[in-house]
Amino acid sequence: MFDLPQIYAENIQRWLPELLYYSLTTLKIALVSFILAIVIGVFLALLRISSVRSLRLFATGFIEIIRGLPIVVLLYIVYFVPPQLFPELDWRWFSDFTGAVIGLGLHGGAILAEVFRSGIEALHKGQREAALTLGMTPTQSMTYIIFPQATRIVLPPVANYAIGLLKDTSLCSLIGVNELMNDAKGIAFADYQPMAVFVLVAAIYFAMSYPLSLAVRHLELKLNISR
């Protein structure tokens, strides 16, 4: 272990550019999954508070199942099951990247749905009533009164989810996606330097997530003061 500095000095010029290149893939996966998760999350949250019982039950069950599965299992199911169940369809577009993004997006959507729902419900009932008594329709009260306030409430949990998502992209390596983790494995075993490479990769992940963590904490402080 104490010759780590020397190992790095010898190899870092070869390793780092390649690792950083695949970090971009990691960021891409995270970004697309994040957007998908928000869309799915909003959709599920609205179903959860819908006045139609069957929609509510469906959303609740769906969320409970997705959240009860480990991400790895979900990724495997999303990527491998549909092509086998429906072989007659054309699956050429369904790359491992796509499967990973859909899997992470579904998982995130289930998590965010709960965040959004409790954000909306945290708002005092009186806000909705005040809006309705002024003659607003339920949709108008949602748009101008509830959503703007709820957004402020859910921002920290959503940001924290994003940080977790960044780390969870490493799981995509297990279904073969070529992102940072996968590339790291390749280099580590090719050059017989697992310790050095994996510690370096850990540092790269840390460099991506720590600034975000700090930013979120700063955000939380700011939001609390303005309350």
Partner: protein, 221 residues
């Protein structure tokens, strides 16, 4: 062969094969939970310590273990340590890896729990002549533990799900057997779905239990 046909003919075989991994899954989950509970408490107490150095070190620990993926941590331990002479078995690597990772999260749960107990309790204990450590042990922690039960249960569920990673360091648990079975039979859909159902059978009841604990805690406050 059709999907339901396969389930009919091979379903039982699949199920028993996968269930063979269940003991390993539970062992890793429980082992890392215990590990995390102990180390997490130590880290939490260090973070609340009066010595700046201890506070900084423990905070660094938490930031690093929470800022890097668990998978990387497992790899460092299982593939990296042999470089320096230590050769953990897959089980050891899994439990230590998930345990150290979990300790970082547990320490936050401990910290929140301890801080949620009113300062006055600590002060009352001190004025009765207890040392800070005694006050912690007999007054603050017992109360904190009660409020921490729901988050600890939730955390345990997360650990259970994280066991699905450890096949990557060679532990033969449910996910490892799942992948082997798929390679063997080429029937990915029913097997992966079955694996999913196995996990759901564990996590859903536990989640409902945790939710009930949370409701009880709300009522108790």
């Amino acid at each position: 062969m059709g999907f339901w046909q396969i389930i009919n003919e091979k379903g039982w075989y699949f199920l028993t094969s996968l269930l063979g991994g269940w003991p390993a899954t539970v062992t890793v989950a429980v082992g890392s939970l215990v590990f995390a509970l102990f180390i997490g408490l130590i880290i939490a107490l260090l973070r609340l310590s009066n010595w700046r150095v201890l506070r900084i070190l423990s905070t660094a620990y938490v930031e690093i273990f929470r800022g890097t993926p668990a998978l990387v941590q497992l790899f460092v331990i299982y593939f990296g340590l042999p470089d320096v002479g230590l050769e953990p078995s897959p089980f050891q690597a899994a439990i230590i890896g998930l345990g150290l990772n979990g300790a970082a999260y547990m320490s936050e749960i401990y910290r929140a729990g301890i801080e949620s107990i009113h300062r006055g309790q600590m002060e009352a204990a001190l004025t009765l002549g207890m040392t800070p450590i005694r006050a912690m042990r007999y007054v603050v922690l017992p109360q904190a533990l009660r409020t921490m039960l729901p988050p600890i249960t939730s955390f345990a569920i997360v650990l259970l799900k994280d066991t699905s990673l450890v096949f990557a360091v060679g532990v033969v648990e449910i996910m490892a057997l799942t992948r082997n079975l798929v390679t063997e039979t080429l029937q990915s859909a029913p097997i992966y779905i079955m694996a999913g159902l196995l996990y759901l059978c564990m996590t859903i009841p536990l989640s409902r239990f945790a939710a009930r604990l949370e409701r009880q805690r709300q009522a108790w406050q």
